[in-house]
């Protein structure tokens, strides 16, 4: 389990990744060919990975995304120290905040 700011990355065994996730189209890479896990709306800073692999977005902001890194990768962000991730499948969870009657993701 790895945490970079408001993003938590949990290793998951491949057989626990729903089939529907693997069949869905992966999220496109950004203009710099990075896998962007989360983009800070206010700052434009991003939690991003440059490595072979694919990100599968959840259907809503509150649903976790899935990340596949067949040969590992390095997670970088403008304001946080980088984290080296071993190869495998991950669940990517955005931090959220409690709001009476609702829940909202955190923007950093």
């Amino acid at each position: 389990m790895y945490r970079q700011g408001d993003v938590l990355i949990l290793p998951v065994p491949e057989d626990e990744v729903p089939a529907a996730v693997k069949e869905s189209p992966p999220a496109p890479r950004d203009g710099r060919s990075r896998i962007v896990l989360a983009l800070g709306e206010a700052t434009g800073h991003a939690h991003a990975i440059v490595a072979p692999g694919e990100l599968f977005r959840g259907r809503s902001p509150m649903e976790p995304d899935h990340l596949h890194l067949p040969s590992g990768g390095r997670l970088v962000h403008e304001e946080h120290a980088p984290i080296t991730l071993p190869s495998g499948w991950y669940r990517v969870i955005r931090q959220r905040e409690y709001v009476p009657g609702a829940v909202r993701p955190v923007a950093d």
Binding site: M1, L8, E79
Partner: protein
């Protein structure tokens, strides 16, 4: 083929592309086998559009009801726009409802329920809440122009205006569905309404005339897509029709102006729990904690848990978290996240912010 960003269409602001919108309207009429509208009336907001729809489709009593509800000035302004317009009957059914339903039914039949649900989730479903929420708020705001009077006459005017908003074709706010139809290669059958959506706001088609609305001049949303702004209207149209909101919650227009000069005493004195929450967020939990001398409830290696008890409201419970990566000046930035009121420990709170239990939350590396 270039895929349209239908989310961007739904939330587009700025002046309508009038020629493009009018061409779209003509295409929609043509596809329905109708002669295009002779008159095009541009309304500066959906509120003005709804009033115009009441003026064109209602009788003298309806117009009087709007005036009695205190909307005399707005009615006079819109009346000048539609002064010599003989609109004829509404052709919404032919122009929008029937062709739309035909495309939807054909697509559904072709895909079958399972695949339909899948495509729907990927397109319409992924943008529906945000767009539909916005449409609902606009309808409410239009109804409240009259309903705020709080009398029987106000209720009658509110009913008329709300009714008019339900008769509108939604223009840019039809985007979630247009996205789905494009995904299925069936957008061509709705080329007219799709073109209006790309270029303008709501519209009301009649036999001889069409009312088309401008897009918002201002639209501000928070990350989950809710209307949100702390220093002005979150949604505004060129004629001044506007909605104020904080993280989706409607707030009175004047309330915004008080936020800049808040004190901790003002926050404590506010009776309305929802407004008090807005005040607390705007003021900053950390500043408030500091000023009222709040004490931490629990502390562990993940952070500090704070609690503020509020009269007649659930307590505000927060975790104070320290960023693991130092700032350029060597300090560590702290921030406060609100967590459910039953939270007992800092670890439980931080774990909750990631949807995990206290035991599950064990990061091996944090930056």
């Amino acid at each position: 083929m270039m895929v349209e960003d239908w989310r961007a269409v739904a939330f587009a602001t700025g002046a309508a592309e009038r020629e493009r919108a009018e061409a779209g309207v003509r295409a929609a009429y043509e596809a329905a086998g109708l002669r295009g509208p002779q008159r095009v009336v541009w309304a500066p907001s959906p509120a003005a559009g709804a009033i115009a729809a009441v003026l064109l489709g209602g009788d003298g009593q309806d117009v009087q009801a709007l005036r009695d509800a205190g909307l005399g000035d707005a009615v006079a302004e819109v009346a000048s726009l539609v002064a010599d317009v003989d609109a004829g009957r509404s052709v919404r059914d032919e122009v929008r409802t029937r062709p739309w339903e035909a495309v939807r039914a054909a697509a559904h039949a072709e895909l079958g329920p399972q695949e339909w649900a899948r495509v729907w989730a990927r397109t319409t479903g992924s943008s529906w809440d945000a767009v539909n929420g916005l449409v609902t708020r606009i309808r409410q705001g239009i109804g409240e122009m009259a309903g705020a009077q709080g009398e029987e006459r106000g209720a009658q005017a509110e009913r008329l205006l709300r009714g008019a908003t339900l008769d509108a074709v939604l223009g840019q706010h039809d985007a979630p569905w247009l996205w789905l139809f494009e995904e299925l290669g069936r957008l061509g059958e709705l080329a007219g309404p799709a073109e209006v959506a790309r270029a303008a706001g709501w519209w009301w088609p009649y036999e001889n005339a069409v009312i088309i609305c401008e897009r918002p001049s201002e639209l501000h949303r928070d990350e989950p897509g809710r209307l949100h702004r702390g220093d002005g209207p979150a949604l505004a149209f060129p004629d001044g029709f506007a909605l104020h909101a904080w993280r989706g919650m409607p707030i009175p227009p004047g309330f915004i102006d008080t936020l800049g000069t808040l004190t901790a005493a003002d926050i404590r004195a506010e009776d309305n729990a929802e407004l008090r929450r807005v005040m607390l967020e705007y003021y900053g939990y950390d500043r408030y904690l500091n000023e009222i001398g709040a004490k931490p409830v629990h502390r562990d290696e993940t952070g500090v848990l704070w609690r503020i008890d509020l009269p007649d409201d659930e307590p505000v419970v927060m975790v104070e978290v320290v960023n693991s990566t130092p700032e350029p000046d060597g300090t560590y930035r702290t921030y406060h996240l609100r967590v459910p009121p039953h939270t007992r420990t800092a670890r439980e709170g931080v774990a909750w912010t990631f949807g995990l239990t206290e035991d599950e939350y064990r990061p091996q590396k944090e930056t």
